[in-house]
């Protein structure tokens, strides 16, 4: 039975699995954090300008390019290994974060913003106390999409020699070994689902106050 054979294979190669998992998480996390650091402030700025709108349109177009194509494109430019994989995943992660951050801020009711200014909030206070909390659900949804996409696409990094859980799939294909294929697929799926679940909890927490009318006075 495949599940049992995969389990036994994983036990026998747990050291390889640990290394691959660490590579996968490190690569994904590095790409995700870099993309968030660039795209969040860019998204905030984009929502305030016409140029930002154009940038967001370009990003929407970038999303259409398949992950594998981005990786393949990196190969002649940056060669093999961790860095080209990181750059490719960074490029993949930016659009969802940027697009959602822009949308989250752009869709805020202008009257809320004006009320906040009317209370005497300065720009930074307006951003941190009103705009960011209100846009948070949309932004977190973008971060979640980016995280899941990065984890799934990091599998392909094995093709350009960056390691990770994709190594098992690559080897499985080469050796025609179903156990290795299964181990790679299941561990990537598990990682992605775990991140998805964590993001969903964060999303629920961020949206809680405004969803409160549905639950009546439960919050009080």
């Amino acid at each position: 039975m495949l599940v049992e054979r995969t389990w036994l294979y994983a036990l026998a190669h747990h050291a390889d699995l640990a290394v691959a998992l660490r590579q996968h998480v490190a690569l994904s996390a590095a790409a995700f954090v870099a993309a968030a650091l660039v795209s969040l402030p860019l998204g905030v700025l984009a929502a305030r300008s016409a140029a930002g709108r154009a940038l967001v349109s370009i990003m929407t177009a970038v999303r259409v390019v398949p992950s594998l194509a981005v990786l393949a494109f990196m190969l002649p430019v940056l060669g093999l290994g961790f860095v080209p994989a990181l750059v490719a995943l960074f490029i993949l992660a930016c659009p969802p974060i940027l697009i959602n951050t822009d949308a989250g801020f752009r869709d805020l009711d202008p009257a809320v913003r004006e009320a906040a200014r009317g209370m005497g909030m300065r720009g930074w206070q307006l951003l941190t106390r009103v705009e960011a909390p209100l846009a948070a659900p949309v932004i977190i949804a973008g971060l979640r999409t980016a995280a899941v996409e990065v984890i799934a696409s990091a599998t392909l990094a094995a093709f350009i020699g960056a390691g990770g859980l994709g190594t098992f799939i690559l080897d499985g294909l080469a050796n025609n070994d179903a156990r290795q294929l299964m181990l790679g697929a299941v561990s990537v799926a598990g990682l992605a689902l775990g991140v998805e679940a964590a993001a969903s909890i964060a999303l629920t927490a961020a949206a809680r106050p405004r969803a409160a009318d549905a639950t009546g006075l439960a919050v009080a």
């Binding site: 009711d109 009257a111 809320v112 004006e114 009320a115 906040a116 200014r117 009317g118 209370m119 005497g120 909030m121 300065r122 206070q125 009103v130 909390p133 209100l134 106050p209 405004r210 409160a212 009318d213 009546g216 006075l217 919050v219 009080a220």
Partner: protein, 338 residues
């Protein structure tokens, strides 16, 4: 066109520079859209001035020039004698209470956080903010223990507007700007909040600039009413004068000046020359007595309800000081129409 009589807004100024002054304020968008057109008037310290007019008349734009959410194209707005442009905008706004319709409360903040917002921006210590929030919620008739930790979405429309008022008063500003604060409420709740605002104002004596399209609301709350149309001030007068001497056909129609009952609603028992105290029928129950500050519409309603058209009037100490009859009341209303 401004009415020919001296402005009631400038005649009763308590301190010469307190309050709000609009000096030839205009606001244009593009070359052809003149939203506010050469508006000048005063809101004396401690007075409630209500701007009334149809939607698009420029009243909200004018209000927002006071806290610099909108900068006039020309002219100057003074707050307590100082050109508003000489203030840091954020500090100016923290010193002016601002109450707006509907979206005014921040949906992601509790009632406590909403009310304590301006004090927290001003850097008050936490204990002082908490005490002030409790005090303000009690002032507007909300139990802090019950409502403090709720979110705005868990409140009724009337409760939300009470919180909005509490928030505007929290940093104890001299000046309140109120932009159609009760516009989204049902008639009963609106009337109740108008009554509570009037009672609060009688205690707090804030300088209030209030914008509404509801003439009855204006008549009820205003010390003076400014009627605007197409960006211009058409008339500025106390409520009774507005009803009895409308400047033109537009104002007459807007306030329905011919409505005698409406006129009675802005007059008080003390405005009538009362009959002698013994004029009332001996058998009239004392519970029917009116106070000097009751309005005449209320007196008329009492007469119609009881079938007794001659009511005793008591002063603050309870002494009967005269008799109000239907004839005397109507005479006063006609005289007011001069």
């Amino acid at each position: 066109m401004i009415s020919s009589t001296p402005s009631p807004l400038s005649s009763q100024t308590a301190a010469p520079h307190a309050g709000i002054r609009f000096d030839r304020v205009s606001k244009t968008y593009g070359p052809h859209r003149r939203v506010v057109d050469d508006v000048s008037f005063d809101v004396p310290a401690g007075a409630c001035v209500v701007i009334v007019g149809p939607s698009g008349c420029g009243k909200t734009t004018l209000l927002k020039t006071v806290n610099r959410l909108i900068e006039p194209t020309s002219g100057t707005v003074f707050v307590n004698g100082r050109d508003v442009r000489s203030f840091d905008p954020s500090l100016l706004r923290r010193g002016i209470g601002y109450v707006i319709q509907q979206v005014g409360l921040f949906p992601h903040m509790t009632v406590d956080a909403n009310v304590g917002l301006v004090p927290s921006l001003a850097g008050w210590p936490r204990e002082r903010i908490e005490a002030r929030v409790r005090e303000m919620l009690e002032l507007v008739g909300l139990d802090p223990a019950v409502f403090g930790r709720r979110f705005p979405s868990q409140l009724s429309g009337g409760q939300q507007q009470r919180v909005g008022l509490a928030r505007a008063l929290a940093a104890d500003p001299d000046i309140l700007l109120m932009d159609e604060p009760f516009g989204a409420l049902d008639a009963i709740e609106r009337s109740r909040l108008q009554g509570e605002l009037a009672a609060l104002q009688a205690r707090l004596h804030k300088t209030i600039l209030f914008v509404t399209h509801d003439v009855d609301e204006a008549l009820r709350l205003a010390d003076a009413i400014v009627v605007m149309r197409d960006g211009r001030v058409v008339q500025q007068d106390p409520p009774l004068r507005l009803l009895t001497r409308p400047a033109d056909a537009f104002v007459a129609e807007l306030v329905n000046a011919a409505d005698l009952v409406r006129r009675l609603s802005v007059m008080r028992v003390r405005d009538v020359a009362l009959g002698p105290p013994d004029g009332a029928p001996a058998g009239a129950p004392s519970g029917d007595a009116l106070g000097q500050d009751d309005d005449l519409r209320c007196a008329l309603s009492r007469m119609l309800a009881t079938g007794n058209f001659s009511l005793r009037v008591r002063d603050g100490s309870g002494t009967v000081i005269g008799t109000l009859t239907l004839e005397r009341m109507l005479e006063a209303a006609r005289l007011a129409g001069g």
